[in-house]
Symmetry: C2
Subunit: 202 residues, 2 copies
Amino acid sequence: MGLARDTRVRWALEEVGQPYEVRLVSFRAMKESEHLKRHPFGQIPTYEEGDLTLFETGAIIFHIAERHSGLLPNNHNARARAITWMFAALNTVEPPILELAIALFQEGDKPWRDERLLLVKERIRSRLQQLAAYLGDAEWLDDAFSAGDLMMVSVLLRLRRSGILDEFPNLAAYVARGEARPAYKKAFADQLAINTAEQPAD
Amino acid sequence: MGLARDTRVRWALEEVGQPYEVRLVSFRAMKESEHLKRHPFGQIPTYEEGDLTLFETGAIIFHIAERHSGLLPNNHNARARAITWMFAALNTVEPPILELAIALFQEGDKPWRDERLLLVKERIRSRLQQLAAYLGDAEWLDDAFSAGDLMMVSVLLRLRRSGILDEFPNLAAYVARGEARPAYKKAFADQLAINTAEQPAD
């Protein structure tokens, strides 16, 4: 509840036009045994469909994309490339961005904070330079919008407050195209409504 | 060449019994335009099959697992769970392990080195505790060996030199079961043979 990764799953479900129900999980309940059965690492989101329970945003979005049209191309090679961009977003672009969050929030009181933030930001810029060079003036990463773009836009959105995204105008425009999609707008508004509503009692 | 992630792809190809050819890439060539066409982030491994070129180890292994039997179960739900473990290995377990490598090699000369190493190792232990609790005394993560185990074992193998893996006997035994598979042994031996042979001229 309230963490950015919920929105990724909502966005995917909106793109493929599948209705869903939300069950909120408090921070305390995330670490309790009932939730740990659904998510061994005590995080969110999780996904339930009949007798299937999944965790990991990447896996949930891939599952949705595989079962419904709209997030993966039909052509075999294009499909494999879209899946590649999902992994690239999560494994190559997001790690230094997560490092920035850790440097700010988990090590924000350490004497090395400021000096390390510069290092971590340079690692992020190095990745974004490569991504910006690849994207050029293309609309999406590989022809049509796919689950790879959904994931990459979601990952880059985490950078907005840092100001780093704006150093790369074509990436900032790419993210803006993602945010302009009706499915993203709906997902974001629904998530925001939850976040501004009353929190579940613990 | 010489980095651990090559072995993951070799292992997958050996598990499904597919022959392959290796093209070595020097560290310098990894950053040149011909390689950047194959891998926008200038890393290895890449994968070529006919007119399809892929990067990202997760995507390559998923592609191999999807096209050949041996790495993903046929049952739909079990297949989705195996894919979940691939993402969990790469996105939940590997990030703090990569942080340790960065703390040692990229920030090894910084005054905060020793104090930060303790913090990063605690983050790794926290993940491994959860993984160890989930695995219990099971042989593999979800019934039969899958691409999820291939990825998780590969990720955990990076920890061996740190000694942290040995703090979790069931995880150490799990990794040993992975290493004992004939496909892993073949992949490891072939990779080692390359690493101990002459390096390509730049």
